[in-house]
Amino acid sequence: MIMEELKSKLEKAFGSAKISSNYSNNLAIELDETQAISMLSYLKNLGYKHLALISCVDWIEDNQFELVYVLSAYMPSDDSYSEKEKLNIIVKTRISREEAKYISIIDIFENAEPYEREIHELFGIHFEGHPRLTPLFLVLKYDKPPFRKDFDTRQFVDDYFGNIPPVE
């Protein structure tokens, strides 16, 4: 119900967005990179104020990174549950893999800060406007950010920590 309403509303506002809901309670929105930020602030104004997750998927065959923002809503009043909070909105946008950079959304969602920091470290995506893109988890220097698909962990372990047993 509310999903249909939201769908039509979004389709009106963002013509180019591909909106689908293949799974229950999930609403996936695919956008190109210029529109994703405005989509996020638009959704925030609609009441989807809880940024649950920022993730990144490395589509190496398409030579693209996909940034994934998952939004949901806090409850409007203290003790009533509605359909609105049930909804998880997944906003997806693809950026180029060679020149991996995007705009930080800290101004819109404050808790995006550690997520973007992590993605910068593990995928090597630069976020413009982020106050501290310092290393979060890692101390070693990797020749490639380790979460990229072309980073071979087994080769790395072999080189750095000595032999590993043969597998498979």
Binding site: Y23, H50, A52, V70, Y74, F109, E110, E113, L136, F137
Partner: protein, 366 residues
């Protein structure tokens, strides 16, 4: 006054888990806090891309040591959502009971850590003892004390052993019988009230801005609980309440935790009453070595003992996941919220605030 740089952790008695906070201290006040995670980073999500769907179960539970069960649950739910598997009714009930047991155990561990932080050994020891009684039941049900690996896509691994319900009820009664003792020694203790009241305040507005979930929100009076919002397992089949408290400080959070723990115990009794007596506990899944989960991407979430636990999962139709990303409650609590809340507090309250927000280090680092 001279500014000092103080390393709180990783080697510190007040630090539960391998985590570190660099504090800028002026006298006894904190002027700047800098969370420094990564001591437990194993690159789980990368490792999971290299293993088959079923092989990942031993890995996922190790993301959170204190409460591995909800991580198992969320992973199973993710796979079920992508593959379109239904869980049989009895399996759903067993899942709920299992997760509530885990919640009680986890909160008892939290009570251990919290009272230890205040230097209250006595209650700490009691809580740990009671958690151990519960771990005995886990051992009986699953064969392991800590990492149970009991859930699987489509249900649970096996049915309850004979007479398990009765022994579980006895254990819960023996824990619940001590609640008055806990109240008298800890929750009604005036020194605890002095230490916790007004400390580490995370208001509702700030919490919503920083993505706070779970009991951090419930301590502000908001009944934010995924079990009610988006019911999974068998939570929509019994009557239960979400308990809240007011104030948003460590004191309110502790009371939210206590009430939730008591509610969980009651909920287990109700679930045991309503559970279908017989039936399958899991749906058959294909051969795990050849199992291809259909292409797609989904986000699932559940309510762990620390708040909303989410999982974003991408499958490209292969025998291995293409990408998994866990949204853990400690992540936002520990990295975004903690740095804000700690500023202006006393050095003595770092552990106090951290544990009351229930920051579990391995969950942050993954």
């Amino acid at each position: 006054m001279r500014e000092l740089e103080l390393y709180f952790g990783p080697q510190h008695l007040g630090m539960v888990g391998n985590f570190s906070i660099t504090l800028q201290v002026e006298g006894d006040r904190i002027v700047k806090a800098d969370a420094n995670p990564g001591y437990l980073h194993r690159g789980f999500e990368k490792l999971m891309e290299q293993r088959t769907w079923m092989q990942n179960f031993p890995l996922v539970c190790r993301i959170n040591v204190v409460e591995p069960d909800h991580i198992e649950l969320i992973y199973s739910m993710g796979v079920e959502k992508l593959a379109g598997i239904e869980v049989p009714p009895r399996g759903k009930f067993i899942r709920s009971i299992y997760c509530e047991m885990a919640r009680v155990g986890s909160h008892l561990f939290g009570l251990w850590a919290y009272s230890n932080m205040l230097g209250f050994d006595t209650v700490a020891q009691w809580a740990m003892y009671h958690r151990d009684l519960l771990l005995d039941r886990f051992e009986e049900l699953t064969g392991a004390r800590v990492y149970h690996i009991y859930l699987r896509p489509g249900g649970v691994r096996r049915d309850f052993p004979d007479g398990f319900e009765e022994r579980l009820v006895n254990t819960l009664h023996s824990i619940g019988g001590k609640v008055p003792d806990y109240n008298a020694t800890f929750f009604e203790n005036s020194v605890f009230e002095k230490r916790a009241k007004g400390v580490g305040v995370l208001t509702r507005e700030e919490g919503m801005k920083l993505g706070a979930v779970g009991h951090s929100m419930r301590a502000n009076g908001m009944k934010y609980d995924i079990r009610k919002i988006e019911p999974y397992a068998a939570y929509d089949q019994v009557d239960w309440e979400v308990h809240t408290s007011e104030g948003g400080d460590a004191y309110a959070r502790l009371f939210a935790i206590r009430d939730e723990m008591i509610e969980s115990v009651h909920m287990i009794f109700k679930l045991l009453d309503k559970m279908p007596a017989k039936g399958e506990v899991f749906t058959k899944t294909p051969n795990p070595f050849k199992w291809r989960v259909p292409e797609g991407d989904a986000y699932v979430r559940c309510e762990s003992s620390r708040g909303e636990l989410g999982l974003y999962m991408v499958s490209d139709g292969g025998i291995k996941p293409y990408r998994v990303h866990f949204r853990t409650p400690s992540y936002t609590h520990g990295l975004a919220a903690l740095e804000k809340v700690l500023v202006g507090e006393s050095v003595a309250d770092v552990g106090n605030i951290m544990i009351s927000m229930y920051v579990v280090a391995p969950e942050i680092d993954r």
